[in-house]
């Protein structure tokens, strides 16, 4: 399980940090595409401004989910490409890797998507993503002053 150094997303007790292997960025989106949280720790290259970057990321994930649901070789019949899939319906991907980064993705049944961009050699981060989701539930959702759909402060 990977632990990351740097700032945590909410005032929770800090996770034990291992040297090296810190994440590059983290995104949290809700089901409508609103970016609830974006934090970067190590991002030398910025291609687009923040708004476009979030939209591009959300669009990429939406299309990839649609692609994996359609390409799933184990299910017999699926809907057509482009039909919005409910969270949890159809086969969904959990990570992809390029030569410069690895992106790990988790979607909850409520449509909250958590994305972590890390070094390409990182292992399976699904447990870490679950841990982050639990933190989100504890400190953000249960916060009486938080309005759902607003960016996390």
């Amino acid at each position: 399980m990977q632990f990351f150094g740097g700032s945590d997303i909410s005032p929770s007790p800090p996770a034990p940090t291992a040297p090296g292997n810190n994440a590059h960025m983290i995104y949290v989106f809700n089901r409508n595409g609103v970016c609830l949280l974006y934090k970067e720790w190590n991002r030398p290259l910025h291609t687009l401004n923040a708004q476009q970057d979030h939209k591009l990321m959300f669009g990429l994930l939406f299309s990839l989910k649609s692609l994996t649901a359609k390409m799933d070789p184990t299910s017999a019949e699926k809907g057509n490409l482009g039909v919005p899939q409910l969270p949890g319906q159809g086969c969904s991907f959990h990570s992809f890797r390029t030569n410069t980064y690895k992106l790990s993705f988790m979607e909850t049944p409520s449509g909250i998507k958590i994305i972590l961009v890390t070094h390409p050699k990182t292992g399976d981060l699904r447990d870490s993503l679950k841990y982050i989701y639990n933190l989100y539930v504890e400190y953000v959702v249960k916060n009486p002053l938080y309005t759902p759909g607003a960016p996390v402060r």
């Binding site: 991002r43 030398p44 990839l64 692609l67 359609k70 086969c91 991907f93 992809f96 410069t100």
Partner: protein, 141 residues
Amino acid sequence: MAAIYNLYIINKSGGLIFYKDYGSAGRMDTNDSLRVASLWHSMHAISQQLSPVLGCAGIDLLEADNFDLHCFQSLTGTKFFVVCEPGTLHMENLLKYMYELYTDYVLKNPFYEMEMPIRCELFEISLSQAIQKDRVALLGR
């Protein structure tokens, strides 16, 4: 032996030029495979934009719940990708071998037009042989 479900070759503009199914339950018709191939081409390009560091060459491996997708991009922009069972090993070697077969049987074929769908029998035969062969033999190359 872990299974390979199907494989695709797309040209540098994103058009599907080869698709072969080796036993998936969700067989796709031609139109769907064309759409899926173009979608993959675009996703590959967008993923390069989102890279936090310079020099990203696109998605090499996509891990989903029921399958893995390995992609190999040649220097000319032709992409070879294979859909296989999660955790199948040595797919990169298979893709490189596929590229070799492509150069031998397709590109050197005088009747083959560039960027057009592949209709070369020898290519398909040797590809099927490679898929059915023992993985150990592939590793030895």
